[in-house]
Amino acid sequence: MDFDEIGQILELMQRHGLVEFELERDGERVRIRKPEPAGGTPTPGPPRAVGAGPADLDLVVVEAPILGTFYRASAPDAAPFVSVGDVVKTGDVLCIIEAMKLMNEITSECDGEVVEIFVESGQPVQYGDRLFAIRTRPAE
């Protein structure tokens, strides 16, 4: 099991709107759960990724605290603040979200390793969109 496979699983879960996914390899166990449909509710709008992450207690997901445009670097030609694999400390700048010409620096609230970046630089993000996944304890 590596991060590629986890990535594949996460993608699969998102595409199929799963809320739970279990797997055991050689004892051959699988468990898949979809959300209960909400009775007569009109199906909601586009599915949102927020909060649909895996129940991995070591993984901190950084969400957009404001609406704006996401930048991974301070300038188009500058190096990104962080990349996947980087180790960050609490208070380190992870990215900038620009709103109303203001550059809002988004900082890390934990120590750990950046394991995923969910958004491309230059893309708009909504309030609550997932930006980064940070693993607070290094993987064994």
Partner: protein, 445 residues
């Protein structure tokens, strides 16, 4: 030419604006809080963008978030709905600066009408009679001096007020100091402006208002509404045309509000509110520079789509109606179905289970609700507006009664039982009521 409208609101009015935009062939984007991401307005808009968390202060009341949403989605116009920032001169100014069409009056007019004390003076100059009252003041000393000069009973109002908040009736000098303190506190909390002003309190009055639409060159009045049935200064049931207005007064006031709208350079849909005392004298109290919750009753009797007129005017396309086109046909009533305990008015948010709305002739229901949907405690309690139109008031009342009897809202308490009691009350049926009428339907919380 507009192409995409950002809707900076929620609930039934966001959905109402989606309807109007679709009919005009405009694209829509709903700016919503995280709590409203599955709303009907979001579902039926072309796009949606989450601008902040549940708390209004960081979402529906955040000018930066809303303007960012407009910029990111490429909207060229913004409709503020009602409540929230709908009468915010700051939002109108920010839109102007950002090159986005604000679907509402100019910032200048919003400033002018937003200062309720100043607006009284302007309207008086334009020929409207106002209730005797005072300028704005800040501080209990000045308040006491002004109240004594004006004479009791007085009504304390917030200079930046609206929606009935910050109002206090004071009947004797003894109660004044305390009331001034409470009102100032409420005014700061609700509007961020401590200033108050006073009006002579008119007992046993009727609350009547005129609907106006205006573009750069013309103002047209679309008749009047009776909004006398209020609970704690909140409108509960509205009618068009008003019951307590003579034809002479109707004609005279209609002409005066058109003149006043032209004089202040008003542009948009807007309302002029009056108190009518027991002698039939009408006193201007304030103007509302936005679409109103009760706008459907006017739409029902005139056939004019007020939200579409707002958008047309803002787009520079001008009004689609002339005064000579306006004809008031029949009678319409709106009942606000709130998620509240019907007797006490205590809010009753929660999950709606079954939800079905009445059909048949002359009935309209504007609602964001559906089966299995939440009424959040974070926002106001309005679940649905039920509007009934009939050839006369009697038919409208009978129709409203059967419509409410045939409406299903399970899971939350609503004001439907209150409305049904009112609609069978002999005084209501006879049109005998004043702003104090609903008090007897109210039990203390």
């Amino acid at each position: 030419m507009l192409t995409k409208v950002l809707i900076a609101n929620r609930g039934d009015i966001a959905l109402r604006i989606v309807c109007a935009c679709r009919e005009l062939g405009l694209r829509t984007c709903v700016a919503h809080s995280q709590l409203d991401s599955d709303s009907m307005a979001v579902r039926f808009a072309d796009e949606a963008v989450c601008i902040g968390p549940a708390a209004s202060a960081q979402s529906y009341l955040s000018i930066p978030a809303i303007l960012t949403a407009a910029a990111i989605t490429g909207a060229d116009a913004l409709h503020p709905g009602y409540g929230f920032l709908s009468e915010s001169a700051s939002l109108a100014e920010a839109c102007q600066a950002a090159g986005i069409v604000f679907i509402g009056p100019t910032p200048h007019v919003l400033h002018l009408l937003g200062d309720k004390a100043r607006a009284r003076g302007v309207m008086q100059a334009a020929g409207l009679q106002v209730v005797p009252g005072t300028e704005s003041f800040d501080g209990p000393g000045e308040g006491t001096r002004l109240a004594t000069a004006l004479g009791f009973p007085v009504l304390i109002k917030a200079t930046s007020g609206g929606g009935g908040r910050g109002l206090r009736v004071v009947r004797t000098a003894r109660d004044l100091a305390h009331a001034l303190g409470v009102a100032r506190h409420e005014a700061v909390a609700a509007f961020g402006d401590p200033r108050l002003y006073l009006e002579r309190y008119v007992d046993e009055a009727r609350h009547i208002e005129f609907q106006v639409v205006a573009d750069e060159t013309r103002a047209v009045q679309l008749g009047d509404r009776e909004c006398t049935l209020q609970r704690r200064h909140q409108k509960v049931l509205e009618e068009a045309p008003a019951v307590g207005l003579s034809e002479t007064a109707r004609r005279k006031l209609g002409e005066l509000v058109v003149k006043a709208a032209l004089e202040i350079g008003y542009r948009n849909a807007g309302t002029f509110e009056f108190l009518v005392d027991s002698d039939g004298e009408a006193y201007f109290i304030e103007a509302n520079a936005r679409i109103q919750v009760e706008h459907p009753v006017t739409e029902m009797v005139t056939g004019v789509d007020l939200v579409k007129e707002q958008i047309r005017v803002a787009a520079g396309d001008g009004l689609s109606v002339r005064q000579s086109d306006v004809q008031v046909t029949g009678h319409a009533i709106e009942c606000r179905v709130n998620a509240e305990h019907p007797d006490t008015g205590r809010p009753a948010p929660g999950m709606i289970g079954a939800f079905t709305v009445p059909g048949g002739p002359g009935v309209r229901v504007d609602s964001y609700a559906h089966a299995d949907c939440m009424v959040w405690p974070h926002y106001d309690a309005l679940v649905a507006k039920v509007i009934a139109h009939g050839r006369d008031r009697g038919e409208a009342i009978a129709r409203m009664r059967r419509a409410l009897e045939m409406m299903v809202v399970e899971g939350v308490e609503t004001t439907i039982p209150l409305h049904l009691r009112v609609l069978s009350d002999p005084d209501f049926l006879a049109g005998r009521f004043t702003t104090s009428f609903l008090e007897r339907f109210l039990r203390p919380v």
